[in-house]
Amino acid sequence: MASNTQSFVKAPYVFGFHKPEDYIYKSGRGLSESVIRDMSAQKGESKWMLDFRLKSLAIYEKKMMPSWGPNLVDIQFENLFYFIRPVKSQADAWKDLPDAIRETYDKIGIPEMEKKFLSGVSAQYESEVVYKSIEKTLHEKGVIFTDMDTAVKKYPELVKKYFGTLIPPADNKFAALNSAVWSGGSFIYVPKNVSVGLPLQAYFRINAANMGQFERTLIIADEGSYVHYIEGCTAPIYSTDSLHSAVVEIFVEKGARVRYSTVQNWSTNVYNLVTKRARVEEEGIMEWVDGNIGSKITMKYPSCYLVGKKAHGEVLSVAYAGKGQIQDTGGKMIHLAPETTSRIISKSVSGGGGRTSYRGLVYIASNAKGARNNVVCDALILDHLSRSDTYPKMDVRVTQSITEHEASVSRISDEQLFYLTSRGITPAAAASMIVNGFIEPIVKALPLEYAVELNRLMDLEMLGSVG
């Protein structure tokens, strides 16, 4: 069996195409105060945002790189472009988009999906949202769904109240970097007691070699509201390494519920270093559904600050690490109020010399009486070249609470393979089937077409891994 799983053949990267670059504006390589001033002026931002960026830059320069986790020394910060503007202004209609951009979207299937069911598309090409269409119903309900740059101009008071309060620039080096050079991303405001029936989606795409992508997303779900936001990523292959460093802040007000789904499939030269955090008020529910398949190194630990009584947080994550990949993912649950509950389910698969790690924190504060937490990590190692690690931390400071952590590591068992092959299924198809069964609890939390895509990607990654 061991020899069967050794021959791990990586399938070609299916989304690995890129279009010739065609930009209105491109900053020079590297980061300096003048790049930020220039960028802010190009965007026509008001002073408070420029000040915020400059303050963040100062923090970024002082901050150390993380002393733990995967090795990040190969990121060449001075070789990155921090701001690229693809088109002059945002297009209002699909046909107004430049041909090259439209073709790119055609390849990832946006117009088709839009026709079918999307409630609104806000697609990002490079650092700017160039195409958006929001259905009238969203307007009628008072829901704001726009790109972050527009939100800063159109709703300054609302943005100012929340922006950078949950993840301040001083949080970590990459949050500081994002705060200094952020561009694009989504802004969502859902008014009181409004439930957004269809998921809101945005597609991100990096198309220039060495282009850092620093989107910034802010979601505010007012009391009793519900929204499901989906972030999907595909990126073309480049020989030089690029950096994706996003910041996502979510405010879940009293009794509201937010679900944030991600299918991350960056090409395997992208460093994906993301800070995601939600603040959950009384009886609010926050759910992170996270699929990480691509990238060279991903470091992502979606967290929930459960600050209101009976708030609930959930992280469902699935990660696949193939040749040369490190998926360092996990979740953080910070229980700061009584009767708060949380759950983390993490499934990881490593093959072809890949490395998956679960890294998590559960903190139960001394006033969080009756808090409950449950963490389950399952890892599947496909061959002898790969590895899997678990680094959980639990800090419990109150007596009336229950926390549970459970992790197990296994491989595809001979019995399972034998059972399936004896019924005429090829070893490769059997292994694929077992892996898809293994990640099923997470996949079923995704909307149908994402679930299908994730299963298909997993099949591609698994191709030739057994037999």
Binding site: A2, T5, S366, A379, I381, L382, D383, H384, S386, R387, S388, D389, T390, Y391, P392, K393, M394, D395, V396, R397, V398, T399, Q400, S401, I402, T403, E404, H405, E406, A407, S408, V409, S410, R411
Partner: protein, 197 residues
């Protein structure tokens, strides 16, 4: 080989227990750490022989606001070895337990069976439990599992005992007794009898 240590026998500030198993044999180690002063203990077991089998039981009982830190290492170098570490701690006042458990499975240690379990009982106001069970696995043909639970005595247990005429204090003592005895066995119970709250 069976070895038992109780804190009374340990006179160092940073007691270290280090075992290297080079033969196909069984080892049972029982460690009882109870103290009113803070200290940090280290335990490591390295499985260098195929077929080696180690069972480790640790009971941690800090008192009077003490902080006891315990770090364990289960290092599997040779194939076909088995290690099982169970750490149970009881905190009855504003004391602290810091547990860091490490399991490392080397690339050559196939068919390793490593188990690590940490159970914590917390019912003192101001008590803190900090636990970090870490797995690092470089081989795909292994069984490796860990689990952590922290909790208090459930109200329904106390109620059950109260309805049968057991007073709260006795009920708590009974519960702790069962919590620990389950992991150590009757014959060794007298070793730590006077250490229990």
């Amino acid at each position: 080989m069976i070895e038992t240590y109780i804190t009374k026998q340990i006179n160092k500030e940073h007691p270290t227990f280090s075992y290297v198993m080079t033969k196909k044999e069984s080892l049972i180690v029982t460690l009882i750490l109870s103290s009113t002063v803070s200290f940090a203990a280290h335990f490591s077991i390295t499985m260098k022989a195929s077929g080696g089998n180690a069972t480790v039981r640790c009971i941690v009982l800090p008192k009077d606001g003490a902080s006891i830190s315990l770090t364990t290492h289960q290092i599997h170098v040779a194939p076909n070895a088995k290690s099982d570490v169970l750490v149970k701690s009881v905190i009855t006042d504003a004391s602290t337990v810091v547990f860091q458990g490490n399991v490392s499975i080397g690339a050559k240690a196939k068919k390793s069976d490593a188990y690590q379990k940490n159970e914590n009982l917390l019912f003192g106001a101001g008590g803190v439990i900090h636990t970090s069970p870490v797995l690092e696995i470089l081989n795909n043909d292994v069984r490796c599992t860990h689990g952590v639970t922290t909790g208090t005595i459930p109200d329904d247990v106390l109620w059950y005992m109260a309805t049968r005429g057991v007073e709260k204090e006795s009920a708590i003592a009974l519960y702790i007794d069962g919590f620990i005895r389950g992991s150590i066995g009757d014959n060794q119970k007298k070793l730590f009898e006077n250490l229990l709250p």
